[in-house]
Symmetry: C2
Subunit: 103 residues, 2 copies
């Protein structure tokens, strides 16, 4: 069965990219053991130093949505929101067929 992929950008206000990335790296630890989580990767944008990308693969969109309920995740989101420059854009959803490197 195909998996659910999501590739999305969060843009921080000027100078807050690193802080935002570190909060998201904390979140990745919390969700790594959530049901259906295969990938939760945090990257810096190569051009915009205030932008952070989150690349996720889950068994299903439902598993992704449930990850917001993992203990501690809401607290991290509430730390991240004041750092954001505007509302996050909707991420790119992918229909993951397979490949190499995920569990």
């Amino acid at each position: 069965m195909n998996k659910y992929g999501l590739h999305g950008k969060l843009k921080a206000t000027s100078g807050n990219g690193e802080k935002l990335a570190s909060i998201l790296l904390e979140a990745s630890k919390l969700v790594s053991t959530a049901p259906g989580c295969h990938l939760y990767i945090i990257s810096k944008d190569n051009v915009d130093e205030n932008a952070v990308w989150v690349t996720e693969i889950w068994d299903s969109k439902e598993d992704h949505d449930n990850s917001l309920l993992v203990a501690g995740v809401k607290e991290l989101i509430s730390q991240a929101i004041p750092l954001l420059d505007g509302k996050p854009e909707k991420g790119q959803e992918l229909d993951v067929l397979g490949g190499a490197g995920i569990k």
Copy 2:
């Protein structure tokens, strides 16, 4: 050390998206054991049925570039090229900080 990420789209001519994806899935098997390969995932676009996404994480850009030399990869590329609708766009390069789910 940060890793090198690449997220890029290949667009097939009408009706060839599935064939292109299956060639790329073959390529993922070949490069999975190449030095520095952490992730090589193939996805279908959720909107354009002829578009296929390749999401890669490598130790370095050099490791990525060397993957084109892996035995069999050039043959797969030469099968894929006639299926493409125009020249591939340059993929999005990412500076991968970390997260969960890669080896």
